[in-house]
Amino acid sequence: MTVNAVLATATTTIERRLLAGQPFAAGPESWDQHRARLGELPRCAGPAAIIPSIERSGLIGRGGAGFPVGRKWRSVAERSRRGAVVVANGAEGEPRSAKDRALMHLRPHLVIDGGLLAAEAIGAEELVVYVGSEHGEAVRSMSRAVAERGGRDAVALRLVEAPHGYVSGESTAVVHYLNARDARPTSTLERPFERGVRSHPTLVQNVESLAQAALIARFGDAWYRDAGRGRTRGTALVTVSGPVRFPGVYEIEYGITMAELVAMTGGPTAEIGTVLIGGYFGGWGSVRDLWEVPLDPVDLAEAGLGFGCGLIGLLDADACGVRATERIVHYMAAESARQCGPCIFGLGAMAAALERLGGCRPLPDDLENLARWSAQIVGRGACHHPDGAAALLTSGLRVFADEFNRHQRGHCAHASLRAGEV
């Protein structure tokens, strides 16, 4: 999937916000264009003015957990001393997600504005733009944008390329990499907001969250809340993959239904059976159950799912769900930072059992063990990587229950054993 080609075809039901401005085919927005369109980032009257406005907006983090951004900034600001650091997190290690790289490529200055705003809010002296090295266009665009700023800001600005890997964007891994060039999560009792980059309090915030904050600083929290159909307000970037006419990155209002989103993408090109929501850290659901459910973190949580990083991975009804689940858990096992026993051995054992089941040659207790391990592994890693794999597997065991049982008996209803791409 090429982000650019796909973005050029995207349409939205509301005016675009993060992706407003020149057509996507025109590429990155320069600093001059950015200022001509949006004006300078307003000078704020310090943290006392910024943080309450972000809190009132209801803006939630876009990296995966959906933690309230205003509350996060406040907790860092309360601990902040000289030397605090903001990290704009654009590692985007999620294999199927493309929304962060698209944003960094097309609207780099909105990301920088958001980072500068956060720095002002928490009293930071440095902004590090942390971009996944595999996202070439995003790296080039953000580098050019950093150079265009020319060091005129009060906050020191630098770009660091994140090493390739699923976990390199996890907040303790980010800090570990910036401190010691080792992008593995750490399990010290102190969190980044207490002791992060060079031991200073550090705010690690997803690039989309920051870009949204930069718009709130300009247009206000009431404007932000104007968008949204339901309980969660605002717009969100999502990545749609699978059998639809134009897969890719879209900006949606929170609360539109899956049916509306699929219509935005030009409609299905095959029968869609299931959907992976939220990314490899997310969960499977049946499209029949979810077709009219609002794409709103609150509604999804009530349905036992999470909005996560906004990945909507649609799976062809003809594809084998056992094999599709195996493929993802296999990837998660391979992406383990290999530091914690339950993650190394647990994910490895899950992947091996799934491989046997996928191939319809299971051991007698494979399915039983998968259910037990997926419950047992939760909360037992230095980071949440094993939890994510376990949640994904748990949802797969539920949604594809009939298929798993068939595979345990040595049969697959899908003649081709095709795994399907989500």
């Binding site: 983090g61 990296g63 995966g64 957990a65 959906g66 933690f67 996060k72 907790s75 964007g169 996890e170 907040s171 303790t172 593995r184 999560p185 750490t186 399990s187 009792l189 969190r191 980044p192 907001f193 207490e194 690690v204 939220g278 850290f281 997310g282 969960g283 973190p297 999804l300 949580a301 036992g304 799912l305 999470g306 996560g308 530091q339 914690c340 026993g341 339950p342 993650c343 051995f345 647990g346 054992a349 063990n369 391990w373 047992q376 592994i377 939760v378 909360g379 037992r380 890693g381 230095a382 980071c383 949440h384 939890d387 994510g388 949640a391 748990t394």
Partner: protein, 90 residues
């Protein structure tokens, strides 16, 4: 003061001595790594828990106050909702 057991997961190598000393609070998974029972450690296990902390060959076991356990805002910043729930929210 009430306390909870916490395992440094990256440090733990699965020696299993903690589970031998404290089967009431710690069991081992299929690969020999500890599963700590949720919640505050009962006071009558305190002395054994301190002993378990001391004998861990890689110093991966700690006794921490419950306040400290809750102070993990950023560790959750990438977690899915399911993981948050299983950790008891906060």
């Amino acid at each position: 003061m009430a306390a909870s057991l916490r395992v440094d997961r990256a440090r733990c190598e699965g020696y299993g001595m903690c589970a031998e000393l404290l089967p009431e609070a710690i069991e081992l998974d299929d690969w020999g790594y500890p599963i700590v029972r949720d919640g505050v450690l009962p006071e009558h296990l305190r002395a054994l828990a301190e002993r378990a902390v001391e004998v861990c060959p890689v110093l991966a076991l700690r006794l921490v106050s419950p306040e400290r356990m809750r102070s993990t805002l950023h560790s959750r910043s990438l977690a899915p909702h399911t993981a948050l729930r299983s950790h008891g929210g906060g």
